[in-house]
């Protein structure tokens, strides 16, 4: 119990330390927002990856893999592929354009104040949807690690992140993020490798890849339920609940009251409602004919993550910190390599969890497999130390993503909404505004996270990606590569994509589509495959029907002309 708390505390202190050390560099407006555009590719790539690897990557992929099987890994593929799309269409031109924020780009490219306001609204919506699940993850993990109430984890992460964002600005946070990337990678890699060595390879292969199903170990299985839980018994089993012997027939659905459940040795483990019951062979199949492994769902998920990453405001703001276009490209390739390294490890937890942590199928807490596996698979000191590592890594994940999102929220409000004085506002005033907004920007999502304890993390993250892919992705791709885009067309596309994406997901939540299996449910749960083409179409059609033809010559010059041409006006704007 003590070791994980110490590990989390050490990571938190190191984070604050590096953040305050970074303050020394925050002297100018440019420092505060874009770290003076002087961050080397290697540092920046680690910082981008550190910011990107959130609760969904650190805990979610392994948990979903344990729950539904190998199809969960398409999520990792999509999360990494997003950076390829960013590299191909956005990285270098966006950096060359030289804006501070996304709304800056919208106004600078299309010259419309109204479009800027629309972009501000979209940034705040995407960031808030993304911030809530991070805080929620922190609350759940803190309960798991320290036995503290749900609200304590949220409060700890919210306060720490607000402190170092408000004090350090972008420059300080860049070093923190780079540090957090390596914390997360070590915290997921070392326990995974140590466990594989300790266990002598993957155990229970038949449960993972053959015809077997998860069973209780030779000494039986004790599960402590802290809440009422509905489970399905796949085969007839005698078990003990609250000290009394009970019997369930095959396929029976049983509501278990809080307390201890005891399953006899080698009994087939019941699964919580919503978890499919499958043999190893079915579990290891990467594509299925229906459900979350269905091709339509996989393609829609890949589309949302592939195109959504380029529209995540807290990620894009990091590309403005590169010194020039080619550096932005090099940085992105590094990010791809770093993410590829990280994503090698979550599948190990998913597989070991299925083999060695069957109690999580009963409690329905497969999402916590990364935190719980080390102590469940390795009794004694070794497991405790490894468990402390994954706990520390999880907190690094919540803190780094939250701080990136908070920078984006605070930067957007203090620069785009409050900063009507433009770049003329003096630095101390600007910094004070940035700090006030940072505190407010964290308070509201924290309150929401306290209220939505029952809403699934992956639903909220899915909203953020679908919304980003349906609004900013078409704005960037067309704004950068198509001179004919008009502000009217852009606004139509953002509105059409945003409204359809939010509408579909809201309808899906109301209709309970997450538990159904038809093609309509796939689209309501992950609407990108419909909303993204629609947003592109609305932008193109809207632009073609706008009467006056825009002159995008200077903007295209700023976006696409390489560095070192000796054009003074361009070079000055980019400095």
């Amino acid at each position: 119990m003590m070791i994980p708390i110490l590990a989390v505390g050490a990571i938190t202190l190191a984070t604050i330390g590096i953040g305050t050390w970074g303050v020394r560099f925050a002297r100018t407006t440019s420092d505060l927002y874009v770290a003076s555009r002087a961050v080397a590719p290697w540092w920046n790539a680690a910082a981008i990856s550190g910011e990107y690897l959130s609760a969904a990557s650190f805990l979610g992929i392994a948990g979903l893999m344990m729950q539904i099987g190998v199809p969960a890994l398409w999520q990792a593929v999509g999360f990494a592929a997003g950076y390829l799309a960013l590299l191909l269409f956005v990285a270098a031109p966006l950096r060359r354009f030289g804006s501070y924020t996304l709304p800056d780009f919208a106004e600078g490219r299309l010259g419309s104040r109204r479009l800027r306001n629309l972009a501000v609204a979209a940034v705040l919506a995407i960031d808030t949807f993304y911030l809530i699940p991070q805080l929620k993850g922190a609350g759940i993990a803190f309960t798991e690690v320290a036995g503290a109430p749900y609200s304590v984890g949220i409060a700890v992460v919210a306060v720490v992140v607000t402190l170092y964002v408000a004090l350090g600005g972008m420059r300080g946070v860049t070093y923190v993020q780079a540090f957090q990337f390596w914390v997360k990678t070590v915290a997921i890699a070392v326990p995974a490798i140590a466990l594989l060595i300790y266990l002598g390879g993957l155990p229970h292969r038949a449960t993972l890849f053959g015809d077997a199903v998860p069973r209780a170990p030779a000494q039986g299985l004790r599960v402590n339920l802290d809440h009422r839980q509905t489970v399905e018994f796949p085969v007839a089993t005698t078990f003990e609940a609250a000290g009394q012997a009970r019997h369930a027939i095959a396929g029976q659905i049983v509501v278990l009251e809080p307390g201890q459940i005891v399953l006899p040795p080698h009994a087939v483990v019941p699964v919580s409602s919503g978890t499919p019951w499958q043999t190893g062979r079915e579990w290891a199949r990467p594509v299925r004919s229906r459900g979350e492994g269905a091709p339509l769902f996989i393609y829609s998920l890949l589309l949302a993550t592939f195109l959504g990453t380029m529209g995540l405001p807290h990620i894009l703001i990091r590309f403005y910190t590169s010194p020039d276009g080619p550096t932005a490209r090099r940085t992105t390739v590094w990010v791809l390599a770093l993410l590829a390294l990280f994503y090698l490890f979550p599948p190990i937890y998913g597989a070991l969890g299925r083999a060695l942590a069957p109690s999580l199928y009963v409690t329905g807490e497969t999402d916590t497999v990364v935190l719980q596996l080390p102590t469940l698979a390795w009794h004694g000191m070794g497991g405790q130390i490894l468990g402390a590592m994954t706990a520390a890594g999880a907190f690094a994940a919540f803190m780094s993503t939250s701080s990136g999102l908070l920078i984006s929220i605070a930067g957007t409000i203090s620069y785009d909404v409050w900063g009507r004085g433009g770049r003329a506002v003096r630095l101390p005033v600007r910094r004070r505004r940035f700090r006030i907004v940072a505190a407010l920007g964290m308070a509201i999502p924290s309150a929401v996270a306290l209220a939505v304890r029952s809403v699934d993390i992956s639903i909220l993250v899915g909203w953020a990606f679908a919304l980003a892919a349906s609004t900013f992705c078409p704005l960037f791709v067309l704004g950068i590569w198509w001179p004919r885009l008009t502000p009217q067309g852009a606004a139509m596309g953002i509105l059409a994509g945003g409204v359809v994406a939010i509408g579909a997901i809201t309808a899906g939540v109301i209709a309970g589509a997450q538990t159904l299996t038809g093609p309509i449910d796939s689209i309501l749960t992950q609407p990108a495959i419909v909303s993204v083409p629609l947003a592109f179409a609305a932008m193109i059609v809207g632009s073609l029907f706008t009467t006056e033809s825009p002159d995008a010559g200077p903007q295209m010059l700023a976006l696409h002309s390489p560095e070192g041409l000796g054009l003074e006006a361009i070079d000055r704007a980019r400095a």
Partner: protein, 110 residues
């Protein structure tokens, strides 16, 4: 290359700096070349990633082939795909920087 009236001859750099029709033409060519390169990389990526789910669905025999005791289908999803992403990204970066460099040469040489 000389057109005779060398005293008033305008270089591509002047055209670009003054945003004349000629300058815009040079830049449009660069933009189209960069876009073609990006789309080519996208097709390579989409072809590989997009065909994989269908391949798994249409060739169920893949799951019976084991490598290191793990079904090949499950192994293919993460590590090899991510390695391919990095490779496509690295090749793209090299080509995109080369396009920029040749544009720079065009502007400086004349």
């Amino acid at each position: 290359m000389s057109l005779g009236a060398s005293a008033t001859r305008r270089t591509p750099r002047d055209e670009l700096a003054d945003e004349t029709a000629h300058g815009e033409l040079y830049l449009t060519q660069l933009r189209r070349a960069q876009l073609e390169l990006a789309l080519l990389a996208l097709v390579a990526f989409g072809g590989i990633v997009g065909s994989l789910p269908l391949l798994f669905l249409l060739v169920p025999g893949l799951e019976r082939i084991h490598l290191f005791g793990i079904p090949v289908a499950a192994l293919l999803v993460v590590a090899p795909l991510l390695a391919i992403f990095v490779a496509i990204g690295a090749i793209y970066r090299h080509r995109a920087d080369a396009l920029d460099a040749s544009f720079r040469d065009l502007i400086h040489d004349e």
